[in-house]
Symmetry: C2
Subunit: 99 residues, 2 copies
C-alpha cells in the first residue's frame, strides 16, 4: 500500500490558466490582447453580444488568473496582457503539450 501521490504545483498552475481560458469570450479577449497591445472594456463590449456586467466578470476572472491586467485611464480602463504570467503560461503549455 503506497502513499497517494498528488498533483504537482505545475499541474495546478496549468489547470488554473486552462480554466481561465475555458470560455470563448475569454479566449477572444486573450487573443485580442496578445496579438495587438491593449484595449478598453468598451471596445470589447461593442463587439461581444453579452451584457457589460457579464463582460466585466470575464475580465475579472482573467485578472484573477493573472493573465491580464487593467490600468485606470479615466474615465476608461485599459486592459493589457500580463506579460510575465502570459510568458509563464506559454512555457507551461509548451512543456505540457510538447509544442
Amino acid at each position: 500500500m503506497s502513499v497517494k501521490l498528488v498533483t504537482t504545483d505545475k499541474q495546478k498552475r496549468i489547470a488554473r490558466y486552462a480554466k481561465a481560458m475555458g470560455h470563448p469570450v475569454r479566449v477572444y479577449v486573450l487573443e485580442l490582447l496578445s496579438n495587438q497591445s491593449c484595449c478598453y472594456s468598451g471596445d470589447l463590449s461593442d463587439e461581444l453580444p453579452i451584457a457589460k456586467s457579464t463582460l466585466s466578470q470575464h475580465l475579472k476572472e482573467l485578472k484573477e488568473a493573472g493573465l491580464i491586467q487593467g490600468e485606470i485611464e479615466s474615465p476608461r480602463i485599459k486592459y493589457c496582457i500580463n506579460k510575465e504570467n502570459w510568458k509563464e503560461a506559454q512555457l507551461l503549455f509548451k512543456q505540457f503539450m510538447g509544442i
Copy 2:
C-alpha cells in the same frame, strides 16, 4: 450601430479544450498519457487521492472533449491520448499562444 460579432469556431474549440484541461487531475492524466503511451484506470486510481467514481467522471470529461479515448481490454479499460484531437489542440494552442 454595428452588428455584434461573435466568437469564432476556433475560439470555441480552444475554449472547449482549455476547459477540459482546467482541473489538476485532468492535467495529470493528460500529461501521463501524452508522455508515455497508455494506462489503465486502476493505475490512476492507485496514485490519485480521489474516489474511483470521481476519476471516472474526469476521464469521461476528457473523452467527451475528445482528448483521450478508452479501449476495452477486459476486464480493464486502456486509456490513450486521442492523437488526432491532441494534435489539433497542439496546433490551436500554438497559434493561440504564439508558441
